[in-house]
Structure formats: structure tokens, C-alpha cells
């Protein structure tokens, strides 16, 4: 609850030279994968603050993710989906979309790569075989964000559509939904325990949704406002660019164009923490595998078009348990 001004965290040296589209911690180490508009994907070792590798692409890279600790995938605006092998600096094209690829995820459950593109399709790829494409699934609109949990895929597109798929049966969506927020979807992220997803919009608001379609299940959903500022009696609303769930506590951080990072406890509907303001919009967030580190991409997201802005940078801060741990609920019989 308390807002204590703190240092922004350690800044990563050699950041990308243009807008940062996504950052992700590895599931195995403190390596950080960063995709950027400067057409590069970079791999940092956060523990030593060393740039471990760099891959140049044919266009701006809009998303990236890890495969295992030694390889990853990238989604490029030159329509390609690539696989990157870090140790050998090798990259190969898994396949292409008909338009820039907006987002990419790797499913550990099925061993597939899932990509969403502005060509209004979702594609699944096998990263191992030569003919990687497993399937193409048409979406109602351009895909803006994508999230996975277990066998579930949540696809958020333009026009505020949200499709929920089961990876084992991709022939049609398990659920077709409409965003409960009124404005363009910015980011969607599944709860780590798999019961639903959080969805943020360009209008300073986050909706907490549940997969369970029963009345009881749906009655739990709610939305809350965030990343707003009141100035001279007027509400200034900022887009919420990023959501990242804490891997241990299930709490989550949001980052907005106001340059703030907030940490929330979704179960108790409380804000746990607000970090001090970052130089420019928070474009992406990622917790490390043990939740002890939080990487923050402070990078202008062009919400106001091309204008002079602060340099793009990545901060890594160590997370205090107090900042992310849900305030203990009073369990009457914790002894058993």
C-alpha cells in the first residue's frame, strides 16, 4: 500500500537502440531475451549484466520467447517466425505469415510455437521438424496479444475479440468472447494457476476474467482502473501496455504509458505496491523464474506518434517479498 520512492533498479547496459517490444526471462536462468524495433533480438545475462548475443532480423521484431535456455523464437515484422540458437548464433526461419507477426509463445505442454499475426490468423508450429507448420486458424481480427496456460490459449485481437482455444483441439475456439473493456485490447495474460486471464486496454483499465462459464464462475470477474492521473480536476488515462504475473505468489504487475509499474493482488483486489516512475512508457515486464527479479522495459510505445522521447532502457530490480506477497488472509486454522 505504501508508495515508497525507490531507485529504478539496475539498468542493463547495451540496450536496444529503438523501441523495446518485449522482454522475457528464461525459465532456467537469469537470462533475459529482448526484442526490439531496431530489428534485433538480444540475449542478456542479467546476473552479470552482459550482452550474450544478438540476432539481426529483416524488420522490427515485435515479440520473442524462450524455447529452452539455449534457444528461443522471435516474431518479426518482416512476416517471419524464426528460431534462434544462442550458443551458436544460428537462426532459421520456421515459417511466415502474410503480415507482420505480432506475438509469439512457446507451449511447453505441447512443444509447439504459437504465433499471432496482423494477417488475422493464429499459427502453430513444430520447432523441430522441417515442415514446421501444424495449423493455421483464422481469427476475427488482427491478433494483438496472446497468452498460454497449460493447454489453453487466449487470443486477443483488434475489435476487442477474445478467443479461448484448447491446444489439443484447435479446430475451433473453445470460447468466443468480447472484451469486457470498451477500448482496444493492449495485453492479455493468463493466471499462472490457469483459471482465467487478465486483459488490459488502452484506456487505463484491467479486466480480470475467468474461464469457468457458469454463473458462479463469471460472477467473479471484475475490472479495475489503473495508470491514471488526475490533473487539474481532469482524469488523464494511459494505456496499460504490460501485465506480468508473479510465478510464486500469483500477484501481478502492470506497466503503463505513464511510466509507472503497479503490483496488484487480484484475489484480494488490492494494490500492493507502486514503483517509482520510469523515464518513459513501460513497454514490457517480466518476472524471473523465481520471482526475485523484475525486468522493466522503459521504452516509448509511440502512443502519440513519432515525437522526441527518452532513450529506450531496461531496468532489472530485485523484488522484495513485501512488494509482491499477498497480504495474508486470516486463516482461522492455519495449524492443521
Amino acid at each position: 500500500m505504501t508508495v515508497v520512492p525507490q531507485v529504478a533498479g539496475r539498468e542493463i547496459s547495451n540496450p536496444p537502440s529503438d523501441g523495446i517490444s518485449n522482454i522475457r526471462f528464461s525459465n532456467h536462468s537469469d537470462h533475459l531475451l529482448v526484442s526490439s524495433w531496431d530489428k534485433s533480438v538480444r540475449l542478456y545475462d542479467v546476473s552479470t549484466n552482459v550482452l550474450r548475443g544478438e540476432f539481426m532480423h529483416g524488420g522490427p521484431v515485435l515479440d520473442c520467447c524462450f524455447h529452452d535456455d539455449s534457444s528461443g523464437f522471435s516474431a518479426c515484422a518482416d512476416n517471419t517466425v524464426r528460431r534462434l540458437v544462442f550458443n551458436y548464433g544460428r537462426e532459421d526461419v520456421l515459417g511466415r505469415h502474410d503480415a507482420p507477426v505480432r506475438c509469439i509463445e512457446y507451449s511447453y505442454a505441447t512443444g509447439q510455437v504459437i504465433t499471432g499475426s496482423w494477417d488475422k490468423t493464429l499459427k502453430c508450429w513444430d520447432p523441430r521438424g522441417a515442415n514446421g507448420l501444424i495449423g493455421t486458424y483464422t481469427q476475427p481480427e488482427r491478433v494483438y496479444s496472446l497468452s498460454l496456460v497449460g493447454n489453453r490459449v487466449v487470443v486477443a485481437t483488434a475489435g476487442r475479440h477474445v478467443n479461448v482455444y484448447d491446444l489439443r483441439n484447435m479446430s475451433q475456439p473453445e470460447q468466443r468472447r468480447e472484451s469486457s473493456l470498451k477500448y482496444q485490447t493492449r495485453c492479455v495474460r493468463c493466471y499462472p494457476y490457469g483459471t482465467g486471464y487478465a486483459l488490459s486496454s488502452v484506456e487505463g483499465r484491467v479486466a480480470m476474467e475467468f474461464f469457468d462459464l457458469s454463473e458462479a464462475g463469471q460472477s467473479k470477474k471484475y475490472a479495475f482502473k489503473c495508470h491514471r492521473r488526475s490533473e487539474a480536476g481532469r482524469d488523464i488515462v494511459y494505456p496499460v501496455n504490460a501485465i506480468a504475473f508473479h510465478p510464486v505468489y500469483g500477484t501481478f504487475a502492470t506497466g503503463g504509458c505513464d511510466g509507472y509499474v503497479n503490483v496488484w493482488d487480484g484475489n484480494n483486489k488490492k494494490r500492493l505496491y507502486q514503483y517509482s516512475k520510469y523515464p518513459t512508457s513501460v513497454a514490457a515486464l517480466s518476472f524471473s523464474r523465481d520471482g526475485r527479479l523484475l525486468a522493466i522495459a522503459s521504452s516509448y510505445t509511440y502512443e502519440e506518434g513519432d515525437k522526441p522521447h527518452e532513450p529506450d532502457s531496461i531496468f532489472v530490480r530485485s523484488v522484495n517479498e513485501v512488494e509482491v506477497k499477498p497480504k495474508p488472509k486470516v486463516y482461522p486454522n492455519t495449524t492443521t
Binding site: 503480415a99 475489435g159 482502473k225 491514471r228 480536476g233 481532469r234 494511459y238 504509458c257 513519432d306 492443521t336
Partner: protein, 707 residues
């Protein structure tokens, strides 16, 4: 001289006598004195003497010259004879006595001329032959000193012997030249065949050695140097040939191996027939043109590479399949694959860090090992399954026992009762199960010398933990029982005092309930704790089962928590509103109302109202913010405040027109009216920041004005 005037003397004497007598007569007539006459006669006599002496001198000189000439001629003749190696002609000896000098000279001159002619002839021959020798040796590139020696004609020795010598020399040289030429041609032939096989340009190779060798000029350079270079070239080409041959044969061997390995069809093999046909050929057997050219080798190499790639991809496929098999085996046997997993990653194989066939072998080995182990585990595994199932039942039973309404009659209650009965029977068997399992696991471990692990956790420790938990549980139960007994005593006392008996269950219920509904409860129940020991996958599974069984109860709990959630939500919404309304410090506001939900709200009525509010806050505030307004900050605040005041009926609320430009307010109204929230899909298409930055489609009004 006297001979010359054999006839005339008489005449001359007469003339001299007559002249003297004539003079006597004259003098007589003149009467010259005798003295005068004597002087005159003396004078005459002296003049005569003078004339004679002059003539004699002259003749003498002439003779000397003649002798010199003869001597010279003779000397020359002798020299020439010597030079020509002929017997000297001794003319002079016998001539000297007999013939005069002139005759001698006459005799010697033609001989001399003859000799000179012969000498010139001989000299010409010498020059000719020397020229020949010179030319040949030049071709042979003999050393130049040698040349100089033979080149100068020795004028003093032009004998036939010398000539013959020279001729012999010339012949030997010519022979050598022939030999050399033959050698060069041989070399050239060899070179040409080598070049043909290796597919290199013969003319170019040869002209590099010497420009005359490429056949364009009639004479070929045959110097030792050239021959040496030719030999060197042949040698190096041969080396190259052997190298390439070995390379090609290596490739051919690999190719045939790969064909065999992958059953390549004959048609495909046919194309590389000429690669493989030379597999066992020796160096000189390979003579087919271009068979060892770089292109050909590259061609073969490319094929081998292709085959190898196919092979490695096949191996990779097999490897992956095996890996999956192994994982599957491990999973079914509840063994942790990690214990076996080396680095089987495809990357390692791809990059050559590991030999795929070795890996394959390893993985096979492991599969057999795992299979064997799995077989030995089956017996125990079955028991474990049973035990875990029993634990689940125990867990359920425990939950069920806590439900104070369990005996309330309702639909399906009899089934639950039956289940409980069964569960109780099963639970009773658990200690025996645990015992046998422990024994079995012990013997297994003893037999194999390895820990028996179930999904990575040692079974014995699982069992132990379970018993410990059970014990604790038992103690706890004992404690509660004691407490209840005490409470009962107290109540009885009170009853005795006041005559009324409050229900003791209520407090108990409150205590036990919430622990069950929460998402983390499983860990507080015995079975759940047990299951948690198993790996994560397992947890998800079992918890879902638990949930199913607890569905009814959870539902009720959810309702309860829901209302509180709604309350909270309302509070946050309220906080936001106040925030905009008061425009005061964030910190303060956020902290104040958020604490609210923690304060007790007992009234059911209030919670009902709050639920409504909650629903409203979910949707209504969104409608308030105008979607198309360029300056949204200007208007919404007031509105929000209005809504805040009229909590119950948001839909019918009056909208006071804010003091803003009319265009803005119009935009706002359009935002307000639509019943279905699909306004962003109006006539203008929406774009994300990324799309507009990338210029994905011509952006129109892509940016939603937000601040």
C-alpha cells in the same frame, strides 16, 4: 747480265771503238793537246764506271727482294701445310741448286694459292660445324664458358682430325638434343593426360612452365631447367591426383555406405555411378577425363553432404522418437526422467558436439535400463496407486466429516453416504497398505541398492511423511476432542446454571469452513499434503478431483467471498471516483478506501446493494469515457462525480452538459447511446500503436486520444 748482251757486245764494241776512233780523228784534226785528250778520256771512263755501278746495285737489290718473296712464300706455305695438317712440300731444297729465283717463285706461287684456297675451304667447314655445335648447345643450354672455348676457331689447327672431332661432337650433341626432345614430349604427354583427368587447362599449365611448349611454336625449349620443371609439374600434379583420388574414393565409400544405410533407389545411385566405379582403382587406372576435376569432386561432395544431412535428420527423428519413448516410459513408471537425461538435445547433435549414433546407443541403453527398472517397479507401483487412491478418499472423507450438514437429507445424499462408508473401510486399510509398501520398497531398495523414487521423491520418505502427518493429525484430533469435552462440561455447567444450552457447533463451523474453500486448502488436509509431495502435474490433477468433490461446498463459499469481492470492488471504484472528484493525493486515497473491505460488514442487505454496485462499476465507468473525444480529460470528471452520487440507478441519470465545446459533448453522447458496445468498429478502423508505427495499414484515426 752478261748473258743478256750476248750478241750486241761486238756491235757495242764497235760503236765504242768507232766512236773513239772518230773522237781521235776529230782531236787530230783539231789538234788537241795530249793532256786535254787524256783528261777527256779519263772522264769518259769514269762516267762509264758510274753507270755500271748503278746498274749493278739495282740488280742486287732486286735479287734480294726476290729472295725475300720466295722465303715468305715458302714460310707461308709451310705454315699452311702445318695448319691443314698436311705434309710440308719441300720444293726449295732441290730447286735451289737448279733453278733461278724467278723460277722458284713461279713454282711456289700456285702452290701457295692452292694452299690458301684449301685453307679457306677448311675454315668455312669449321665455321659451319662450330655454328651447328653452338646452336645445339645453346638449345641444350650448355654453360657459356664451354661455348666460348669451342667457338673461337683455332686458326693454327684446321686439320681434318680436328674437323672430325668437331663433327663427332656435333653428332653427340644432336643425339642429346633428340633425347631431350623425346623426354620433353614424353613429359608433355604425361602432363596432358594428368591435366585431362584433373580437369585443369593443359595449355595453361604448360605455357606456365615454358611458353614454347604449348604447341604454338615449332621448336620447343628443351633445356635441363625446362625438363626439371616439367618433371616437377608432373610430380605435383600426380600428388594432387593421388590426393583427389583418395578424396573421391573416400567420398565414394561414404556414399555407398549412406546408400546402403538409407536404401537409396538405384536410379538415384545411377547418377553417381562414375563416382563409385573408381572406388578401388589405383592411381594410374584412373584416366577418364575430368574424373578428378574439382567440379566433379565438389559435385560428389555435395551429394555426400546432402545424404549426410538426410541421414542426420533421420537420426534426429529417431533420436527424438526414442527420447519421447524414454520420457513416456519414465512417466508411466513414475520415474524421474531427469536422472537419466543427459544432454540429448538436438542442438548438440546438429552442431556436432555429440555423435548422434553414440547418443542413439546411449538412449537405447537407457530405454532398456528404464524398461527393466519399470518392470521391477510394476508391483510396487500398483500398490502405490492403490495407496494414493486411498489417500484421496481419506482426504475427501476428512472434508466430508467436517461438513456439519452432511446428514441433511437431499438429493444424492445416499450416494455420498455410501461413498463415505466405503471410504472409511478403505481408510482403515491404509496403515496396512503403508506397512506392506514400506516393506516392499525396503526390499526393493536393498535388492537394487538404489532408492525407490516416485516421481522424483523417495517413496520411503513419502510414506514416512505421511505417517508423521497422520500422527500429527491424530494428536490434533485428540486435542480437539479434549477441548470439545471441556466445552461440553462448561455448557453443561451453564445449563445447570441458566437452564439453556447454546449450540456448540457454530463456533466450530466458523473455524473449519474457510480453510476448505480457499484455493490453497489442499495443503491443509492430510491427503492433499500427501499428494503435494508428488510432482506438480499430479497436484493439479488431484486438486481438480478434490474440487469436484467439494463443488457444492465451494459454491457456497464462493458466494460468500463473492459478495466481499464486490464490496471491495465497489470500494476501489469509489476510490477512483473520489480520486477524480477530489483531485487529491493518490497515496492517501488509495490507502484509505482500500482498507475498507477488511472492516467487518455484517449486514446482508448492504452486501446485496454492493453487489449491484459492483456490477455497475464493472461496466458503467467505461461508458462514461468518450471513445472519440480528442480531449477526454476535459469532460468526464464531472460526469463521474454525478454517477457517484447516484449509486442506484446509473442508466437514467441526467447528464449535465459540461461547459465544453459542443463538438466534444456530441462525441460524448454518441458514446453514451449505443446499447451494444461495438463502437470502435465504426466506419474507421482501429489500429494498435505498433501497427501505426509500422505503417501497417494507412492510419486514419488510429490513436485514441488518451492524454
Amino acid at each position: 747480265m752478261y748473258n743478256h748482251h750476248n750478241d750486241p757486245p761486238s756491235h757495242m764494241e764497235t760503236t765504242c771503238g768507232s766512236l773513239l776512233s772518230e773522237l781521235q780523228k776529230i782531236w787530230d784534226e783539231v789538234g788537241e793537246p795530249d793532256v786535254e785528250r787524256d783528261t777527256m778520256l779519263l772522264e769518259l771512263e769514269q762516267e762509264c764506271l758510274e753507270a755500271y755501278r748503278r746498274k749493278v746495285d739495282q740488280a742486287n737489290r732486286c735479287r734480294a727482294q726476290m729472295r725475300q718473296a720466295v722465303a715468305d712464300s715458302e714460310a707461308e706455305l709451310a705454315y699452311l701445310c702445318a695448319a691443314l695438317g698436311e705434309r710440308p712440300v719441300h720444293i726449295r731444297k732441290f730447286e735451289q741448286s737448279t733453278a733461278s729465283l724467278k723460277k722458284e717463285l713461279e713454282l711456289i706461287t700456285p702452290q701457295l694459292d692452292e694452299m690458301r684456297k684449301r685453307k679457306n675451304e677448311r675454315r668455312r667447314q669449321f665455321v659451319e660445324i662450330l655454328d651447328q655445335i653452338h646452336n645445339i648447345s645453346k638449345e641444350l643450354c650448355r654453360s657459356t664458358e664451354d661455348n666460348l672455348f669451342t667457338m673461337a676457331i683455332d686458326e693454327s689447327d684446321l686439320s681434318l682430325k680436328q674437323l672430325e672431332e668437331l663433327q663427332r661432337q656435333s653428332v653427340t650433341l644432336q643425339k642429346e638434343k633428340g633425347d631431350r626432345l623425346k623426354q620433353v614430349l614424353d613429359h608433355l604427354n604425361t602432363l596432358e593426360s594428368l591435366c585431362l583427368v584433373l580437369g585443369t587447362d593443359f595449355k595453361h599449365t604448360v605455357s606456365e612452365i615454358h611458353p614454347t611448349l604449348d604447341g604454338s611454336s615449332s621448336t620447343k625449349n628443351i633445356s635441363v631447367d625446362t625438363i626439371e620443371r616439367l618433371a616437377a609439374a608432373i610430380c605435383s600434379l600426380k600428388e594432387v591426383k593421388i590426393q583427389r583420388m583418395q578424396r573421391l574414393q573416400d567420398l565414394a565409400t561414404t556414399m555407398v555406405e549412406l546408400w546402403c544405410l538409407m536404401d537409396t533407389p538405384i536410379q538415384e545411385q545411377q547418377k553417381f555411378q562414375n563416382v563409385t566405379q573408381n572406388i578401388g582403382a589405383s592411381e594410374d587406372e584412373i584416366s577418364e577425363p575430368n574424373i578428378l576435376s574439382l567440379e566433379f569432386i565438389n559435385f560428389a561432395e555435395a551429394e555426400v553432404l546432402r545424404l549426410q544431412q538426410i541421414k542426420s535428420s533421420k537420426i534426429k527423428e529417431v533420436l527424438l522418437k526414442k527420447k519421447l519413448d524414454l520420457e513416456e516410459l519414465c512417466r508411466t513408471a513414475h520415474m524421474v526422467a531427469k536422472a537419466h537425461a543427459q544432454d540429448y538435445s538436438v542442438e548438440a547433435v546438429e552442431c556436432g558436439a555429440l555423435d548422434p549414433s553414440y547418443l542413439l546407443e546411449q538412449i537405447e541403453l537407457q530405454i532398456s535400463k528404464v524398461k527393466e527398472e519399470a518392470f521391477s517397479r510394476t508391483d510396487i507401483l500398483e500398490k502405490i496407486e492403490k495407496w494414493l487412491a486411498a489417500c484421496e478418499e481419506e482426504c475427501w472423507l476428512e472434508e466430508y466429516n467436517r461438513d456439519d450438514n452432511r446428514y441433511n437429507a437431499g438429493r444424492g445424499t445416499h450416494l455420498i453416504l455410501k461413498r463415505a462408508e466405503k471410504a472409511r473401510a478403505l481408510v482403515n486399510k491404509i496403515p496396512a497398505m503403508v506397512e506392506t509398501l514400506t516393506a516392499k520398497a525396503r526390499t526393493w531398495e536393498k535388492e537394487r541398492g538404489v532408492e525407490f523414487s516416485y516421481d522424483g521423491v523417495r517413496l520411503l520418505s513419502m510414506l514416512e511423511q505421511y505417517s508423521v502427518l497422520k500422527q500429527e493429525k491424530e494428536q490434533e484430533r485428540q486435542r480437539q476432542r479434549d477441548q470439545k469435552r471441556l466445552q461440553g462440561l462448561l455448557i453443561a455447567e451453564q445449563e445447570a446454571l441458566f437452564g439453556s444450552k447454546p449450540s456448540p457447533t457454530k463456533s466450530g463451523k466458523k473455524v473449519s469452513r474457510p480453510s476448505m474453500g480457499g484455493s490453497y486448502n489442499n495443503r491443509f488436509s492430510l491427503g492433499g499434503a500427501m499428494l503435494q509431495i508428488a510432482n506438480a502435474e499430479k497436484i493439479g490433477h488431484s486438486s481438480s478431483i478434490l474440487k469436484k468433490s467439494n463443488r457444492v461446498k465451494q459454491q457456497t463459499f464462493q458466494n460468500q467471498s463473492l459478495s466481499s469481492a464486490k464490496r471491495n470492488l465497489d470500494a476501489t471504484g469509489l476510490a477512483g471516483k473520489q480520486h477524480s472528484f477530489n483531485s487529491s493525493n493518490t497515496q492517501e486515497i488509495k490507502s484509505a478506501p482500500l482498507r475498507k473491505p477488511l472492516s467487518p460488514v455484517s449486514s446482508a442487505l448492504l452486501s446485496n446493494v454492493n453487489i449491484q454496485n459492483g456490477i455497475r462499476t464493472e461496466h458503467e465507468p467505461l461508458k462514461r469515457t468518450p471513445p472519440n473525444s480528442k480531449t477526454p480529460e476535459a469532460t468526464p470528471t464531472k460526469e463521474i462525480s454525478v454517477v457517484d452520487e447516484e449509486i442506484s440507478t446509473p442508466r437514467t441519470m441526467p447528464i449535465p452538459m459540461p461547459p465544453t465545446p459542443s463538438t466534444v459533448s456530441v462525441a460524448m453522447q454518441t458514446a453514451m447511446t449505443p446499447a451494444t458496445p461495438c463502437f470502435p468498429l465504426g466506419e474507421d478502423i482501429e489500429f494498435s500503436f505498433e501497427e501505426s508505427r509500422f505503417g501497417f495499414v494507412l492510419p486514419k484515426t488510429n490513436l485514441k486520444p488518451l492524454d
